[in-house]
């Protein structure tokens, strides 16, 4: 038998993770920080005084609210339905629902363009019915349209987070509440929603962080027309007027934003799992 103490032995399991964390998170983060202060901190002033940054921040926050909201609206009823199915049926559907998570953002963007773009299938179909193709076809390239496209791969995340909470929920409570005089909607509001609230908040925060940080789908869909921070960041490093210190500042802001949202979500989620 090994003479090593169990503590040291288990600690060794964390080594690969620690190496990866150091190489691919701490190191780049340090590099970004260094980059941001490389020109004596003047990049912070440039970003602060740039109206485009503030518009982008506002756009990102709006997207970070709209996309999770739409995703929850779709995902929560799906989770409730899944919880009531037989285990075999549930597993099959979960596989299908999780599939979008494996698709690249670019593919999703092109899919949406093919469906809802200016010459998209649905757009042309609606045009036949008398809708203005310019309005329909333009929707997908707006911030709200971007929110809808994001929900495509945010809904599965919502379902995966909310489903365990709904499954833990004792459905007898719904019958009990009905027998006590509450109508179906009131039962949901008084009994189900308060109990799965932590997982709803967690799902909202996680999908918000993903929506705020994602850029592949946005770039493919709207180019740099819509002002959100990831696209602003992209333009700062790709276009002719490359400004790496400013890009570093923007990425710090972006990271801080996502970290805050994730922290809120995790706080709620760990509280909900420890209560059960």
């Amino acid at each position: 038998m090994s003479a090593r103490t169990p503590a040291a032995f288990t600690a060794s399991f964390a080594t690969p993770g620690a190496v990866v964390f150091g190489l691919f998170f701490v190191l780049p983060l340090a590099a970004v920080l260094m980059e941001a202060i490389s020109d004596g901190g003047s990049a912070f002033g440039r970003v602060w005084n740039d109206p485009v940054f503030w518009v982008g921040l506002r756009g990102s926050i709006m997207l970070g609210i709209a996309a999770p909201f739409i995703s929850l609206l779709i995902g929560v009823p799906v989770a409730i339905t899944l919880a009531r199915l037989s285990p075999r049926m549930r597993t099959s559907l979960l596989i299908a629902i999780s599939l979008p998570l494996t698709f690249s953002g670019l593919i999703i963007a092109y899919g949406f363009i093919l469906l809802l773009g200016r010459a998209g299938f649905v757009t042309l179909l609606l045009a036949e019915l008398g809708f203005d193709p310019a309005v329909i076809g333009g929707f997908i390239f707006s911030p709200l349209g971007l929110g809808v496209a994001y929900s495509y791969y945010l809904v599965p995340r919502v379902v995966l987070i909310v489903l365990p909470a709904v499954r833990n929920f004792d459905m007898v409570q719904l019958r009990a509440a009905r027998s006590l005089g509450a109508g179906p909607l009131r039962v949901l509001a008084d009994v189900l929603v308060p109990q799965i609230m932590p997982s709803l908040v967690a799902a909202f925060c996680l999908t918000a962080a993903v929506a705020i940080g994602a850029y592949g789908t946005a770039l493919a869909l709207v180019g740099t027309q819509v002002n959100i921070l990831p696209l602003l960041l992209y333009s700062k490093i790709s276009e002719t007027g490359t400004d790496l210190p400013s890009a570093a500042v923007i990425s710090i802001v972006l990271m801080a934003l996502c970290a805050c949202v994730i922290a809120i979500g995790e706080t709620f989620f760990s509280r909900s799992s420890s209560r059960r």
């Binding site: 007898v172 019958r175 009990a176 009905r178 027998s179 006590l180 005089g181």
Partner: protein, 347 residues
């Protein structure tokens, strides 16, 4: 008053359900519904509660046809097997919930909820959450919640089966006491025939979706409608038998003298004798009617009684006795023998 009138219901795509059930529960009365699992007893409760709608027939509560009404408008208190308490609300908030839904002001509903909790002995736990309460305590809170809004009936769905044996007996008396005090019609669904016999005014037996007998506990026990009911309710000796003449039947344990009124010679019947009616005899007792000597096959000590299986002739006689002496034979009083019609579903 709870009233099912010729109610039939079939689950879509399944054979299970209930057919043509008529059952009336008077105010203040407690009717227990027993039956094997899948016999339709829970379906019956769900039809009354409004979780299921009958295919045909009517559900009437206090002279009002509620067949098409959703559960929330039926005004019935229901106690569930797994309690169904809301874990995010304290005990008193749980009890106050039906009052809240009915628009009762906060101060009043709190007072009434705490009064209801006091009636079930939970007045001092009103601020606890359900997770801080034991199973028995949760069931008391559920009972208070089901009665606080003065419902028109009380439905109890296997309310005691999640509790351990001692607590079950205690809660049984508690439920009966509270139901009597409220004076409302109550329907208890249970698979525990002892529970049903001990607290119900009448016991309804369900089999294959049909109501096969409804009678006060004593009558059900003494005069079951058929073999299967006799087997289901309590312990029983059941011997296939044939009437061989007036006042005489042939059974696997031998020829028995008994009342054969209404059964022609040659009729096949089932002879029922409850084990406690079998009289134990010493090794050398003789001269009694229906006396048999036999060999003890099993002798189980149950505390206050013994349950003994005696091999006699081609069959077995089971008896229950308080006597602790050795037993070599038994006598079966003729008036302890009931002749039942053989039932097709008997297993």
């Amino acid at each position: 008053m709870l009233n099912l009138e010729q109610v039939s219901f079939q689950y879509p795509g399944a054979k299970a359900g209930v057919s043509d059930v008529t059952l009336k529960v008077e105010p203040g009365e407690l009717v227990a519904v027993i039956g094997a699992s899948g016999s339709g007893k829970t379906t019956l409760l769900n039809l009354l509660a409004g979780f299921l709608m009958p295919d045909t027939g009517r559900v009437v509560i206090d002279d009002k046809d509620v067949s098409a009404m959703p559960p929330e408008r039926r005004d019935l208190g229901i106690v569930f097997q797994s309690y169904g308490l809301f874990p995010h609300m304290r005990a008193w908030e749980n009890v106050a919930y039906p009052l809240k839904v009915r628009g009762v002001a906060l101060a009043e509903r709190r007072t009434r909820a705490i009064e209801a909790l006091e009636r079930v002995g939970m007045g001092n736990r009103s601020d606890n959450g359900p997770r801080e309460l034991s199973g028995g305590q949760q069931q008391r809170v559920a009972l208070a919640r089901a009665l606080v809004f003065e419902p028109r009936g009380l439905l109890l769905d296997e309310p005691l089966s999640a509790l351990d044996a001692n607590l079950r007996v205690e809660m049984r008396d508690e439920i009966l006491r509270v139901q009597r005090a409220a004076g409302i019609a109550a329907l208890l669904v249970t698979h525990d025939q002892e529970e049903a016999l001990s607290i119900a005014d009448r016991v309804a037996v369900m089999r294959d979706g049909r109501l096969v007998q409804i009678a006060p506990p004593r009558e059900l026990y003494d005069n079951p409608a058929d073999e299967a009911i006799a087997r289901f309710v309590g312990e029983a000796n059941l011997w296939p038998s044939r009437v061989v003449g007036e006042g005489s039947i042939e059974t696997p344990v031998g020829r028995l003298a008994c009342d054969t009124k209404g059964h022609a010679t040659g009729t096949k019947t089932i002879a029922l004798v409850r084990p406690e009616n079998v009289i134990p005899l010493g090794p050398d007792a003789t001269g009694q009617v229906n006396a048999f000597a036999g060999e003890v096959m099993a002798d189980r000590f149950l505390g206050s009684t013994r349950r003994i299986d005696l091999a006699v002739g081609e069959g077995t006689i089971r008896l229950e006795t308080r006597i602790r002496d050795a037993i070599g034979g038994v006598a079966i009083p003729p008036d302890a023998i009931r002749l039942l019609s053989p039932s097709q579903q008997a297993n």
